[in-house]
Symmetry: C2
Subunit: 350 residues, 2 copies
């Protein structure tokens, strides 16, 4: 019999983080002082994004610590990607209900794996007591005038999306309704696991964003839901859009597990996709096809930018005519008491 | 009779923040896109601090929204001050239990008043649903090699502290025990209000930090409590310290409301002071006296740096002999179940 090890102190937790965090040449002083000191990249502009994940709001309460760590950094790198920035450093503020060394180690497994994949150094932050919450600030660099802004969409542009849509929202739906989908064969179970993985481990489109910087017009990452995020672009750019519902990219896992109407709702409004949505001149179609092959990232043309101020959805395939509708201005609004069509894990908790 | 206005959406709250946030010439793109774009200061190093305040942990639950806003930025500017940095921008992540426009306006009153006082631009962040929590990242600039590090204390240095110690901890104590202090005359009530103000509206020593940069050796801001923070400096610098308890600066409000033993405990271990503690060669005594007058910031010499690894407290006045004791390594540890001597507002809540 051994005595149980004493609970770690706050300083023990910080030491644990510090020991595992990797450096970078431009980190003059990392974790362990009142603030970090960093060398600026000459001739470039600093890009700063900050996003928080709260337990039960932004991830289901049963999410593994490593997945929480991954996602907390991923959503911030996705924001940098949507600006076309090259990520460099991040800071992490972690509120934990209790000092839990194994939980922290798991969290760092996910967080630092993604950081290492993108050469990002964790340089500071704090740990504190409180309801489980993870706040990350991500810093990157962009060539002046090359950043991708929401306000840069032009009439006549194509609207493009990376990857596929709706998977994360379906993964959340199944996480909250364990009986679904009804069919319980191995193929379906694998599809559901895949969807959950899109929810828990989103892929920030960093290389794509950097390749698009200075070449395409507006960009945004799809976090609130495609329509809500396209609305943000329309509002910032003073334009309207038409989007062909039949052109929305769909993963095999989603088409196998969700029937057509719900699938479309999840693709248009589910959110948490962290795909890049951008507008580009039609003259770039071939070049974007080549870029898609080069980066092995699917790129789908889904719409067109026109005059107006709203997004119109056409119930037809790409470039086809069909009935149009204008969805209400909404999406995944965190404070909304009924964020249809995606169930909100927070309500499980309230 | 009027209909009640509809609750604001998350986007309404962001719009509200955006409308009130002031700009700066080096802010290329502020609130409203996926990330902020900022011009780097040529030839300087970037300094980044990040700190979170959680309701009931870092401020009493009855704290006014404007005071929460002030303090959330103040603790981060204090970290920049402890590095000797000139603050430039901040980002804010605000988790709110409900969409509350008037609460947000109050919060911004305090936050933006302090930001304006230091020329700091709020450039991004997010608002989300969750238990009340405020995370801020502050960015500043420092001349290369001029930053004040915890690791730079030298044997023979004096130890200095700005302002006075223990007020905030006394303010917290009285906030949690409304019957205290017993004497209920107007003079005592005014003193208690003053102590509470030190808790709610700490003064980040930004001008002092900038004036000390490149001139003194180590620096730290006193947030965990003087002894805990001095321990951090000793550990980082590989030195020991002797501190004269009789030399610790004390406000009139503290001496009027708290008896000597408790007063000393609050000064040594209470925390939340946000004063700058720094070490400097003895040759700088006169210059520091002049700086104190020029900035109208009291500076007290309280100790000396020697060989060793711990802080020893001498029960005597400055430079006097007296009984010595080595306090245990602790201070305000957020995860500690019994953070003596300061009562922890979190325990009111658990």
């Amino acid at each position: 019999m051994h005595d149980a090890p004493p609970d770690p102190t706050e300083f023990d937790l910080i030491r644990r983080i510090r020991q595992r965090a990797a450096g970078r040449d431009d980190v003059v002083l990392g974790i362990g002082d009142d603030a970090a000191i960093l060398d600026a990249a000459p001739g470039r502009q600093l890009v700063v994004a900050m996003d928080t994940l709260n337990a039960g709001i932004h991830f289901p309460l049963d999410t593994a610590p490593a997945d929480i760590g991954w996602k907390a950094l991923a959503v911030n790198l996705s924001d940098l990607a949507a600006m076309g920035a090259e990520p460099a450093w991040c800071t992490l503020s972690l509120s934990l209900p209790e000092r839990d060394g194994p939980w922290l180690d798991g969290f760092l497994d996910g967080f630092l794996a993604l950081a290492a994949a993108h050469g990002v150094a964790l340089v500071g932050g704090d740990t504190t007591r409180g309801p489980l919450s993870v706040c990350v600030t991500a810093h990157g660099w962009v060539t002046p005038a090359a950043a991708l802004r929401r306000s840069a969409a032009c009439v006549g542009d194509d609207v493009w999306i990376s990857g596929s849509l709706g998977d994360a929202a379906a993964g959340l739906r199944f996480a909250l309704a364990p009986g679904e989908p009804a069919e319980d064969d191995e193929r379906t179970r694998a599809a559901v696991r895949g969807l959950r993985d899109r929810l828990d481990r989103p892929t920030p489109r960093v290389a794509l964003g950097r390749a698009l910087a200075g070449r395409v017009h507006a960009a945004i990452d799809v976090s609130d839901g495609l329509l809500a995020d396209l609305d943000h672009v329309c509002e910032a750019s003073g334009v309207g859009m038409r989007v062909w519902a039949g052109a929305l990219p769909c993963s095999p896992a989603l088409s196998e597990t969700v029937e057509a109407d719900l699938r479309r709702a999840l693709q248009l409004g589910g959110g948490d996709d962290y795909e890049l949505c951008f507008t580009a001149p039609t003259a770039l179609r071939d070049a974007l096809g080549e870029l898609s092959l080069a980066l092995a990232v699917p790129l789908s043309r889904i719409g067109t930018v026109g005059v107006g101020e709203r997004v119109r959805v056409i119930d037809a395939g790409l470039d086809q005519d069909g009935p149009e509708w204008v969805p209400p201005r909404r999406g995944y609004v965190h404070f909304d008491p009924d964020p249809d069509p995606t169930p909100d894990p927070a309500r499980e908790r309230d």
